[in-house]
């Protein structure tokens, strides 16, 4: 679905399946390390136009809900926070319903690496709301990209709660090549 959404719509976005292909959960710090490794070590950075290779900065892009979980003590380990916010950096998109100053209060040591982006036109769409609409049989057209709407319709995703939808999708894509099915035992 991500690939469908960006294929013809963008000229600089890509989908990386490294994390999705793994059987175990990968902490965000490790995912950023993977990008750092691929771009800066394997590809030796980027040509800066004058023939010199420059080190590329990796930054996490997320919404304000993620930064709120980061500022809540106990959810993220101190080591991970230091790794993501100290070594890399993050761009946070403000969302209505999350107080950004509150969230940043606990992240003072790294505030130079945290950039907050204001939404000039508020967009409140969230995956949770989309799944709610789909469960109720309501249309999600113009809330998500058109090829994604078609894909969901063709594959009957998100019809029920989490458990049912994943088993249903198992039956759907048994013909597909590399199906990764994990039944959510929620």
């Amino acid at each position: 679905m991500c690939q469908l959404a960006i294929d013809r719509a963008s000229n600089w976005l890509m989908v990386d399946t490294w994390e999705a292909e793994k059987k175990d959960y990968q902490p965000t710090a490790l995912v950023l390390d993977h990008f750092d490794q691929e771009i800066n070590n394997v590809r030796n950075g980027i040509d800066d136009g004058n023939g010199n290779r420059k080190h590329v900065r990796i930054a996490l892009l997320a919404g304000a809900d993620l930064i709120q979980t980061m500022s809540t003590p106990g959810i993220w380990s101190e080591k991970d926070l230091d790794h993501i916010l100290g070594r890399y950096g993050t761009f946070i998109v403000e969302r209505s319903g999350t107080d950004i100053d509150d969230a940043l209060a606990n992240l003072q040591p790294w505030k130079d690496n945290i950039y907050v982006i204001q939404q000039l036109i508020q967009n409140d769409v969230s995956s949770t709301k989309i799944r709610l609409f789909l469960r109720r049989g309501m249309s999600v057209q113009y809330l998500i990209p058109a090829p994604v709407v078609e894909y969901i319709e063709q594959n009957h995703l998100f019809n029920d709660d989490g458990r049912a939808s994943s088993t249903h999708s198992i039956n759907q894509d048994s013909e597909k090549g590399k199906a990764k099915e994990v039944s959510t035992s929620a």
Partner: protein, 228 residues
């Protein structure tokens, strides 16, 4: 002149012919079995190889012994069975135009199709007279290996190869999340960040990645990774 193909060799989404090396006729059974001599080549990696492999559409460098059939042998019996990891031999190989390979806007499918075409051109490995050609062929071979083996390759088909402004710091944006499903806000996040970076910082964006979380995350409402 159109001939009937036994198999539909036209990709529906683009004009590229996916099987240029096979003639457009039903293949006949080979009457004789001939032995083919394989040559093993060990590729040694060097910093120059890395540079070459960046010019191909996205494959990390591999160091492995590969076998390939020289073009002369292959031509006579490209219909016979061969191990999956050796290179098919062409009758006539259409070179992909240099214009197509320089395009920056690649869709995922176009990138993969270009990879397959480049792989098929490998059979026409000319005698590599210069170091440049040897390294180029070595990089192409690695690319082919990655294509056949269908392993994970890091996507860099839309990564900027060169910065526009040397004075800025290159930046790469990574968005992790479940994307179940992806919404316009996820995409808009990248665009808003692009605007912010352009107007309020000294960074230059060289690419953006979506990294969907693995199935092990066990969140309610998560579709399978294959769908997401």
């Amino acid at each position: 002149m159109k001939r009937n193909c036994g198999v539909n060799s036209r990709d529906k989404s683009s004009n590229l012919d996916l099987r240029p090396h096979l003639p457009r006729v039903r293949p006949r059974k080979p009457r004789l079995r001939m032995t083919v001599h394989h040559y093993s080549v060990l590729l040694h990696l060097s910093p120059g190889d890395l540079d070459m492999s960046q010019r191909c559409t996205g494959s990390p460098s591999l160091s492995c012994a590969i076998t390939y059939k020289p073009a002369g042998f292959g031509r006579r019996h490209h219909h016979s069975s061969r191990p999956a990891w050796s290179f098919p031999s062409p009758c006539k190989c259409k070179r992909i135009s240099s214009a197509a390979s320089k395009r920056t806007l690649f869709t995922h499918e176009e990138a993969r199709t270009t990879q397959r075409l480049q792989f098929r051109q490998l059979c026409d490995l000319d005698a590599a007279s210069s170091l440049f050609e040897r390294r180029r062929d070595a990089a192409k071979v690695r690319l082919a290996q990655a294509t056949i083996m269908d392993t994970y390759t890091f996507p860099d088909y839309r990564l900027k190869k060169k910065m526009d402004d040397p004075s800025k710091t290159p930046l790469l944006l990574v968005a992790c999340g479940s994307f179940s499903p992806i919404t316009f806000l996820h995409l808009r996040m990248f665009i808003m960040a692009g605007d912010y970076v352009k107007f309020s910082t000294d960074f230059e964006i060289v690419g953006g990645y979506l990294s969907p979380v693995s199935d092990a995350y066990k969140k309610a409402g998560l579709a399978s990774a294959e769908h997401r």
